[in-house]
């Protein structure tokens, strides 16, 4: 599903990733762990096609990311994101936030996804009218709406209490069980209970 070959990355003259190579199979729940400054954010940005690596190659679903002509469409159709902060758009309702991310033929599934995540009643509410845990569940719904092949989650429970964290991990685990590859970057060691693969980073290298 994801093949990383000899990826290195520099910010100016400073090298932050050193010749990383690994593979993530379909349906894996990958835990990307490491201290602050270990290179997690950079690796996640590269894996999610938001950042081009200085060296090396990234293959997603057998396709070299460098050779994808419409990266925007690729990202919208094949990748879902869950960020530390929910990053919902405040002036759009829950339904509209999800519709913004949805492909045309997936818009009909919005209410179904909201129902599966137990937040159907929030559909017409605005982000500032719901709790932090509910917002993050909406963010997960937004990531799932296009039935992506991969979900990238960056500290998805960083701003949640343990109860809501468990709910969010459960939702991501369910997605992985249905065949979606889930990549989570976090400090939270609780994820180890859900992960099927763990990559530990230190100073830009895999331990």
């Amino acid at each position: 599903m994801i093949k990383v070959s000899n990826i290195s990355h520099f910010y100016g003259v400073e090298q932050v990733l050193y010749d990383l190579s690994f593979e993530i199979k379909s349906g894996e729940f990958l835990f990307l762990s490491g201290e602050s400054g270990s290179g997690k954010s950079t690796l996640l940005s590269i894996l999610s096609t938001l950042l081009k690596p200085s060296k090396g190659e990234l293959l997603i679903d057998g396709e070299s990311v460098d050779k994808i002509s419409n990266i925007d469409y690729f990202r919208q159709s094949k990748i879902g994101f869950v960020f530390q902060f929910h990053y919902l758009i405040n002036y759009l309702s829950v339904y509209e936030n999800i519709a913004l991310a949805a492909l045309e033929d997936k818009k009909q599934n919005i209410n179904k996804v909201l129902g599966e995540l137990g937040i159907a009643e929030l559909s017409s509410r605005y982000p500032n009218e719901i709790s932090g845990g509910q917002r993050q569940r909406v963010a997960v719904a937004r990531a799932l709406i296009n039935e992506p092949k991969i979900i990238f989650a960056d500290e998805p429970t960083g701003s949640l209490d343990s109860k809501n964290s468990t709910i969010v991990y459960g939702l991501l685990q369910n997605a992985a069980k249905k065949g979606t590859t889930v990549v989570v970057a976090s400090h939270d060691m609780q994820i180890e209970n859900y992960a099927t693969q763990i990559i530990r980073l230190k100073d830009g290298q895999i331990l």
Binding site: S36, K40, S41, S45, L51, D72, R75, Y91, E96, D154
Partner: protein, 357 residues
């Protein structure tokens, strides 16, 4: 849909853009309307009462032109000339009013001024336009250190004529030391006009003879008014554009996170640019309509402002309205171009970096 919601969410900044566009559009509307109004009134005054105009050669402004009134006798003998009249246009202090228009004309043109009271002026008499008459309750009036008896009042379809006085051309000649500013000639056969122009030109080497249509097209004063109007309109356009650009830059900066989300969700740069263009366009068209209503109100008030004595009138034609609409849309598009471009380049990585994973 997203654009409309974004506008209501950013109410204060949207209002700033709306206001700057409204002011710019109103300025363009008013300056264009007033300049067209002035040109329209003067053109109408010349075009409705004659087919050919005779002015002094080499003098670009009718105010300074001096044509021999005796030419009228020779002109009226030319075949297909039905009538002619001469006129002196000038400006002078009238009573306590520092400056007002004075129209000296031959008696055969008095009927152009519709009498509201009294009779047409004889020697040393004047009739007052409706607007200027409101400022005098005496039976005599001082014009250029000479006393004239007020013989009546008149109204005219041409706004600025109502702010002036009419007298016979001999009296005006003494005031302004000239024979006539111009002579207007009417013909009974439109197809003969060019031939008549040639014949009149041959009468005197010191005159310039044109059809009134050509005169209006080529009149330097109109060109000056039009060019000034264009320059002021352009400045208003530039101010509006800069207003949009600066407020849009503020908006884009405060909504960076939102554009980062859109980019991360796979929305294209074009999607963001189109949305921002649409937001500006909605504000611009609303501001245009608001400015149109305000301008119509102001233009309707202008003729009733006593201080202006009817000299400033505006004509808001469909052509001006469309020209201003086009300018408004251009203003919106150019004003939001750079901010929208910057917004579309928002790097979604900022969302991950803020999380500091």
């Amino acid at each position: 849909m997203i654009s409309l919601k974004a506008l209501t969410k950013n109410r204060f900044k949207s209002l700033l853009i709306f206001s700057s566009i409204t002011i710019a559009v109103m300025a363009i509307f008013l300056i264009s309307s007033v300049s067209h109004g002035i040109i329209g009134m003067y053109s109408k005054m010349i075009k409705t009462d004659g087919d050919i105009i005779i002015t002094q050669k080499g003098i670009s402004d009718t105010f300074f032109s001096n044509v021999d009134i005796l030419l009228m006798d020779k002109i009226e003998k030319i075949e297909h000339v039905s009538s002619s009249y001469a006129m002196i246009v000038g400006a002078s202090p009238i009573g306590h009013i520092p400056i007002a228009g004075i129209y000296g004309t031959t008696a055969n043109h008095f009927s152009h001024y519709k009498l509201s009271s009294g009779g047409y002026p004889k020697k040393n008499e004047v009739i007052l336009g409706t607007n200027i008459a409101k400022q005098f309750s005496t039976s005599d009036i001082n014009i250029g250190n000479r006393e004239f008896k007020i013989s009546g009042t008149y109204s005219s379809e041409i706004g600025f004529e109502e702010g002036g006085v009419v007298m016979n051309i001999e009296d005006a000649g003494k005031l302004f030391n000239r024979s006539a500013s111009f002579i207007l000639v009417s013909c009974d056969s439109p197809s003969e006009i060019d031939e008549i122009v040639k014949k009149i030109s041959a009468l005197d080497s010191e005159i310039e003879v044109k059809t009134t249509q050509n005169f209006v097209k080529e009149y330097n004063q109109f060109k000056i008014i039009e060019n000034s109007s264009f320059v002021i309109s352009f400045l208003a356009f530039a101010m509006g554009l800069m207003g949009i650009a600066s407020v849009m830059s503020m908006i884009v900066n405060s909504r960076k996170e939102e554009f980062g989300i859109m980019r991360a969700l796979g929305k294209s740069r074009l999607f963001i640019i189109k949305n921002l263009f649409f937001e500006t366009l909605v504000m611009s068209v609303s501001a245009y309509l608001f400015a149109l209503v305000l301008s119509l109100g102001i233009l309707a008030l202008l003729p009733h402002i006593e201080m202006l004595q009817g000299y400033v009138n505006g004509t808001l034609s469909l052509q001006i309205s469309l020209y201003v609409l086009f300018s408004t849309i251009l203003m919106a598009l150019f004003g939001s171009l750079i901010p929208a471009w910057i917004a579309s380049k928002t790097d979604p990585i900022l969302l991950i970096n803020q999380g500091c994973a």
